[in-house]
Symmetry: C2
């Protein structure tokens, strides 16, 4: 299997099987695969491996991918920071809607959530968000900064998963941005991860109840 | 408030407040507002009103909107049928990706979930689904029938909400199609409604546990 295909296949199997498969591979090959996984899933995987092994994999990964994953490893798994991915779309605010759609073509293969575009200032502070729905609704010549939703709702990295779920649900979002100090955009939590969390929580509470 | 704005405002308030507001309005005005709500929310609202009042509102609504809502009222609230909306995007399969994007411009204002396009045959049987991601990934001249994902995963109207959540989560979907006899597309359940359900369930189970 090519590393791309192996990474995709790995995200489909149970976490326990995933850990065993990665642990059984030579470190070089394992690193090739892990760096092709979505950063949030790669971080979850590395967090579950013995420290020595995850350090070795991080060392052998491409520097950019390793840095993303290392940043995510700083957060507790059961927080917004631990749930977020650092893979999101940002585009320059001066682009027009038509230009933005064109840029998205180039990103559609790589990025997990293509439907929301985040606009940040040079200091990485979140300025607004534009959805593909906006791109279609507005004149193709309109600039992103004109059509963006300003000051979108957001969460902080230490917010609880329940808080993330509450915000996502209340505003019917496909993703919620996670902001650090000075409003810097650190990552996004996508609705599928919120749903996974709430489903796990529901069953945990139900089983606790049944005991 | 114009009926459009009133309908939008109503979907933001608590279900209990919503029922009281609608009950307090003259029937003509209430019907004008209800027919502008997403069909699944309108059905939930009418199901919670006294029978005589919901019948009166259905009578005063535009015929198309009333028919959609009446169809939804046939399903138990706690089933896939009861969770689904009949508002979804279908386009002819012979359109190209570029033509489909153009058609979506006209629909972006009205439809709740613009990111998935469902392709049906003349008997309304679901043939496949195309996402906006696909539209961006493939050549603008490619036809929808060439790029669609065939036989997408689906649920049945009497499936439980937990089954809908399981499917949505497993395949990371933004919406899951609900198929009736002969594979006819009856509606879709969007991920925000799945999340709302799972969150409510989680709390119900937690509170049950705490009691």
């Amino acid at each position: 299997l090519a590393p791309e295909a192996a990474a995709k296949a790995l995200t489909e199997v149970e976490p326990k099987v995933r850990r065993r498969l990665i642990a059984a591979l030579p470190a070089e090959r394992a690193a090739d695969i892990v760096e092709r996984m979505p950063p949030d899933e790669a971080a979850d995987l590395l967090a579950a491996l013995p420290q020595r092994q995850s350090d070795l994999l991080l060392e052998k990964m491409e520097r950019d991918e390793a840095a993303d994953v290392q940043q995510l490893l700083r957060y507790e798994p059961d927080t917004a920071g631990g749930m977020m991915t650092t893979e999101f779309v940002t585009l320059p605010a001066h682009l027009t809607a038509a230009e933005a759609l064109e840029r998205l073509r180039g990103l559609a293969r790589e990025v997990e959530l293509i439907y929301y575009i985040y606009l940040v200032d040079p200091a990485a502070r979140l300025q607004g968000v534009v959805t593909i729905r906006h791109l279609l609704l507005f004149d193709p010549g309109a600039r992103l900064e004109e059509i963006m939703r300003r000051d979108p709702v957001s969460v902080r990295p230490d917010d609880t998963p329940e808080r993330v779920a509450e915000i996502t649900e209340k505003y019917n979002l496909l993703a919620v941005p996670v902001l650090g100090p000075q409003g810097k955009l650190l990552g996004i939590v996508t609705v599928d991860d919120v749903l996974t969390h709430m489903t796990a929580l529901a069953w945990k509470w139900k089983l606790g109840h049944a005991r």
